[in-house]
Symmetry: C2
Subunit: 252 residues, 2 copies
């Protein structure tokens, strides 16, 4: 597990019983591990919907998402009972339910701070599935970059961060600055009311409780792969390519 979320005193778990699927109440307390996989299911389902597939079994979804089918069923059952026994899940319905669970039904404004190559890549990412997550502002500290047009948006001065957060309803801040600036930007985002931060800078951010920070660190990822690379070569035996080339799912 990469991320620790703030404990946020268990969200109003009414008794323990499951609620009617019909209107209103949603699942109380979806596990972090499940939440982390929902976006992957979402992507797969979008592809299926595009291909006019109407229903999908947990097994098929599992293969496409790179997990096993028990996990898919457990995950989906956390949100409610949306499958039909003997048949599978309705693609359109499941899409709607997962989108809802992820909070993608109303837009979440994103501001990207630091418009270097990484910031540009993020700004141009585009394919943010079914709306929901929308890049609303690009900020940078370099006067040479301010005013520049990137992906249809004008780069604004980081001096205006507080104003931008307030005016454009920013709920997620992405930090793509050098490590040295990360904590300061983070503090300002939090002070301005942002409670969700995605940090690409190689630095540990310290935040007050109630703020969610997720971190993506390229060099951490590469060093983990370095470890695994070494593991193979350290062991004298152990074929790099097993003679049973049975396909296996990856990470995602």
């Amino acid at each position: 597990m990469t991320a620790r979320f703030t404990d946020d005193a268990a969200g109003a778990a009414s008794a323990d019983g499951r609620q009617e699927t019909a209107a209103g109440t949603r699942a109380a307390h979806v596990p972090d591990a499940t939440v982390a996989r929902l976006p992957v299911y979402l992507r797969v389902l979008l592809g299926l919907a595009d291909a006019k597939v109407e229903t999908v079994s947990s097994e098929d979804l599992a293969v496409a998402a790179g997990v096993n089918s028990a996990k898919v069923r457990k995950d989906l059952s956390q949100l409610g009972s949306f499958g039909t026994r003997g048949v599978g899940y309705d693609v359109a319905n499941l899409l709607a339910e997962i989108s809802r669970e992820l909070g993608l039904t109303r837009p979440r404004g994103v501001a990207i701070v630091g418009i270097g190559n990484l910031g540009r890549a993020l700004a141009g990412y585009g394919g943010f599935a079914p709306r929901g997550v929308q890049v609303e502002a690009l900020l940078d500290a370099d006067p040479g970059r301010i005013g520049e047009m990137v992906n249809g948006m004008i780069v604004l001065s980081v001096d205006d961060l507080e104003k931008v957060v307030a005016n454009r309803d920013i709920s997620i801040g992405v930090i793509a600055t050098p490590a040295g600036a990360a904590q300061d930007i983070c503090d300002r985002l939090v002070a301005a009311g942002v409670r969700n931060i995605l940090n690409f800078a190689p630095a540990t951010l310290i935040v007050s409780p109630g703020v969610n920070v997720r971190k993506v660190d390229l060099s951490v990822e590469l060093q983990i792969l370095s470890f695994h690379d070494q593991q193979r070569t350290r062991r004298p035996r152990g074929p790099a390519v097993p003679d049973v080339p049975e396909a296996v799912e990856a990470t995602s």
Copy 2:
């Protein structure tokens, strides 16, 4: 947990007993969760070494790394007994041990495929700690980009992928292509002998056993944050900013 590694039949675990710290044999079977944190400790230690700090306690290291001290001690004890009771850990020594455990003592060649904004950002990342991980080649399919100079390296044609992997001793492949090309590039990397892949494309890669894939998907991260953002607003009560602003560590 974001990543699953291939099971790779437990690496020659000689009995269960701990080995002498002295020469030779290393810890058998370091948990994935620990491996994922070692790079963070490494980064912190580099900073300490830079500041001429000679020893560090598990508590101090923990604060700087954004974890708790029990975790630091458990993690480090997986590699051997390097601390001194009543004192702490020798920074230089710990740096060496972690570097060794991560396989950073001999260079691991990295090839980046797809030199868009993201690929450029990765190519220019630079700060790969204490050597070990070294970008050796940049590849792209766009003729307009081939031959271009990026961060001191010439962009090569992806047609030459197999040649490049062989000639430059590439052990880690980074996929920064559009989703549609990812599986094909992955297959070619694996066929060429690469056993470690870092995938930035929003696609699930299918690989044969023995190949490690790690995935970084921006839209997955944002959607997870969207979920948490929604969690707060869904709940009527629950102050966004608790009145006890006691600092708390973030993710990593």
